[in-house]
């Protein structure tokens, strides 16, 4: 069916080895035969079979991306496409391809990870963390298969990982609100199983403490899922009889919901309540008022993750590396008191 190396070898009157060497740009081939073979390859519309090459080379140039959150609606967060873009940009530069896990539930995730790691399809895996206890991490560790985690692992030392400094981010955003004169600052959307939210919360607590503001646990609203909506969380907060002057939401999307409730209650943002989020989603600019947030550079999280992975694959010596991607406070109207 398809044109193979043998077909063009025959037509060119050379051996398959020679054709292979022409393709590989082996310098030992004479210019004459190189030309001749190339011409015939063109004419016969030859394209190397990547699978065969992978088998012979023992190298597939495919990396797997496992997205645990893909099952649920959270996957619609702009964060994920940005990470994928980042991964993809580095993949292209290094002639790698990206295989993504097709997963609905944790069962399928496990299966995907196993298949990627044991099936010899992928050379390495990028795992997008979503839960604190990620069984895929221990699985990959057990298999001794190269991978990079996007997000903080349970144990720093045996894993390659990339993340923001979420503690610092939480601290920074809280400090910004304190500087704007707030002392009653709520923190909504903490999911205890998610390191990200816990780290941000701890940053918040630290900032309060350093400014001599006692931490009121009643101002902290937990959430069971990262997808819970801010509207309900905000409502829960108000039902506790707490009326903060500032609200930090663990994600911008939560903030939009919270802002809706605040407005419905006839309160003004930022005059009555300032609101700030994390992740700087594109819409943060277009909410009403525009939302102060923290740009986490998801693109860089992705590209750096693949860089680490490729480094690990091509390095002779094993080491466990970590990369912290800088984040940046983006101040908008939702936290600007006009005093």
């Amino acid at each position: 069916m398809r044109v193979t190396i043998n077909d063009i070898a025959k037509v060119a009157g050379v051996s398959p080895s020679t054709v292979s060497r022409v393709i590989a740009n082996n310098p030992k081939i004479s210019a004459a035969t190189r030309e001749k073979v190339f011409k015939i390859m063109q004419e016969m519309n030859y394209h190397p079979n990547i699978i065969a090459r992978s088998l012979a080379n023992q190298s597939t140039r495919i990396i797997g991306v496992v997205i645990p959150g893909m099952a649920d609606k959270a996957f619609q967060h702009p964060f994920y496409p940005e990470i994928l873009r980042g991964i993809s940009s580095i993949a292209y530069k290094n002639k790698y391809n990206i295989l993504i896990s097709s997963i609905g539930n944790p069962e399928e995730e496990k299966h995907s990870v196993k298949q990627f790691a044991c099936g010899g399809i992928t050379e390495g895996i990028i795992l997008l963390a979503s839960r604190t206890r990620n069984s895929s991490v221990s699985e990959l560790l057990k298999l001794d298969f190269p991978f990079v985690l996007v997000g903080k692992p349970e144990n720093d030392h045996e894993v390659n990982w990339v993340d923001n400094d979420n503690f610092a981010i939480g601290y920074q955003l809280t400090q910004h609100l304190i500087e704007q004169g707030h002392r009653k600052i709520a923190f909504i959307g903490v999911v205890p199983e998610h390191f990200v939210t816990m780290d941000r919360l701890n940053g918040y607590k630290q900032a309060l403490q350093e400014h001599g503001i006692p931490c009121d646990e009643q101002l902290i609203v937990e959430s069971r899922f990262i997808t819970d909506n801010g509207y309900d969380l905000m409502k829960k907060l108000l039902e506790r009889g707490k009326l903060p002057t500032g609200v930090i939401g663990c994600d911008d999307l939560l903030c939009f919901g919270a802002m809706k409730l605040i407005t419905e209650r006839g309160l003004k943002i930022p005059e009555d309540i300032a609101v700030a989020g994390f992740n700087n989603v594109p819409l943060a600019d277009y909410s009403h008022p525009p939302l102060t947030s923290v740009e986490i550079n998801a693109f860089s999280l992705g590209s750096k993750a693949l860089e680490l992975l490729l480094a690990a694959l091509h390095s002779e010596y094993q080491s466990f590396n970590r990369a912290i991607i800088p984040a940046k406070l983006v101040i908008r109207e939702s936290t600007l008191s006009r005093r």
Copy 2:
């Protein structure tokens, strides 16, 4: 290094063929040897090499997904993850894997498409349309490689494709506004190169016409990119001296921007201006006020696309199929006049 079929054959004292048959669950193998071989496979932690199997089978069970819009920020639209989820759900059920194109610019896209199609890695391709003139379509057509387009092609007849009926959707949404008493309805965000937006616009025009409302071209605001923001488009509209009572944005995200400007100008939604969009992004529920939109079922677009592709791959006879995914008007406060 890795355990191969030969290794376990030796240990089990059978031939590699037998091991292969055990793996393939060939019924001709005796229960006894089956058990024995399975046990040793377990003990030795054997996993078949997918690449080798692909080469022998001439079947990779990998399908490629090419995302032309991946280059730009538009990829952050919740639409894409949803499509991917849809594709992925069907992929998992059919034991297929998904390879995504790593592309930044049209050049890279072309390269990806060629590689996927000619390299023998993927058995078929799902192409997410983004431009009217998609060179990848003609490329794949020329290569006679199986693919399904998500979005409407230039020529219906030679392509498998999946889409919503965007004309009907545009019509439906416009009619809803007309029913709410609006006669001065603007339509913003038309990108002439995008079939989607043109079809929706034509539906709008048709609805106006059927209700005896003359179409005022001044009320239609074009956009150069799908990523243009609604804030600016809305501003452009108002600068023309046109003050509609209803605004339809070609995408919900545009509407959020438009709503921001409207509110800034001291106008009320929906009392002064009703706003409605398409695509029903998750945030439509949480905007202020909640945004009327059209649910396009992106998940189904994706899953149906893969279903069509698999059908095409496994069918003996070639045919060009088309699937229209139903959409549903979701009415929220942004268009509910309280008269």
